[in-house]
Amino acid sequence: MFEPLKFRDPTLAKRIVEKIHEVAPKRDTVKICHVCGTHEWTITHYGLRSLLPQNVEVIAGPGCPVCVTPASEIDEAVQLALKGVVVTCFGDVLRVPGSEKSLLDAKAEGADVRVVYSALDAVKMAEKEPNKEFAFFAIGFETTAPSTAIEILRKPPKNLSFLVSHRLIPPAMELLLGIGDIHIDGFIAPGHVSTIIGLKAYEIFPKAYNIPTVVAGFEPLDVLFAIYMILKQINDRKARLENEYTRAVTYEGNVKAQHMMREVFEVVSGNWRGLGKLPNSALKLHSEYANYDARERFNIKVEHGKDLLPGCQCHLVLTGKIKPSECPLFMRACTPQHPKGACMVSMEGTCRIWAHVARKVD
């Protein structure tokens, strides 16, 4: 069924690009923002920016959950690990810098930090070693949060707690619209977050902000078509909410997953790396599940961390204000081997994705 080649068909791509050039405004600059590391990967990997008219710019927003996790929460995980708790986390979290240390640094100092593929792996590990305390560092947007919720609802073993750092995408999109000097003309909404929260979560953008918004898939043609759809809306001077990724995203989303998330989490304000506190943008365990909250169990709470090392411009990259190549550290002091900023760590980080291409060009 997938026939991915059809979704990457060069002839079709060429024709869509022609259509994009047809509908794009002739003079005015158009800035289209996506908020997903996987979209950035598709756009950069397939060189889609080079196919667009010069006045159509696609910028990357804060779409990488690892990148937006503030240093204070990495510090909390490091503290847990140094206290003797086995910290389990996704692989791309390991090297993300905290205020002083990353989890990898803690591991090098002898702490037990283990990479897992899923929350279920953490549960299995904790079951296997009942005499040790385990914590699962739950990072991720709405795509990932339901899996944490499932495991908590299943009553995980008593020696497992959760350091919840989940974040929500729509509040971050609203933040971007509030930044005066960016001026976004259209949103490409993230396809996989949308499988969970549905098209309905973005109604506010065309309605309240008059911003064309299209939920898109991750094949190159998906992204090109989303750009075409946005430009067409701009041309028609009518902002709408449209779904390009109908094969995976419905208007309501995954209702079961939403229900589980509501059951386990409450929505609270949360810090985003370099961006400060955003209202209603983070998840916290409801009080009835507080016994699974690693912060409560081990009495750790770091209020402030050092999000940015001197010179690091992750906050500007995360808000699409600059391209990675405009950061003075990019591929000089900050490389995939020795990342200084969070955006250079994860495979979904804008700088990390650009670094891959930069190396190829060299």
């Binding site: 990488c64 990932t144 899996s147 499932i150 996989h192 499988t195 109908t246 094969r247």
Partner: protein
């Protein structure tokens, strides 16, 4: 991190399904977030199926793309006349 990979369901047992990612990679994934049966296609994220993919919608998307592009072409040809 919101990466999700499509896979075909080989068998389902309760909350766990064996899925085929292609190229001989068969894994067990949790399917408690979705209603699935054998031969369905699912999107798998970090060990959990987050959505069932619709074959009809996938075909419809491709058909729609061709249609929009062709409609444009027909229009252009008419303009030329």
């Amino acid at each position: 991190m919101c990466l999700a990979i499509p896979a075909k369901v080989v068998s389902v047992q309760g909350n766990v399904a064996k899925v085929d990612f292609g190229g001989g990679i068969i894994r067990e994934v949790d399917v408690s977030l979705v209603e699935v049966k054998t031969d369905d296609y699912v999107l798998v994220h970090a060990g959990y199926a987050i959505q069932v993919l619709s074959k009809e919608e996938a075909e419809e998307t491709l058909r729609l793309w061709s249609e929009i592009l062709e409609a444009g072409e027909k229009l252009e040809r008419k303009d030329l006349r």
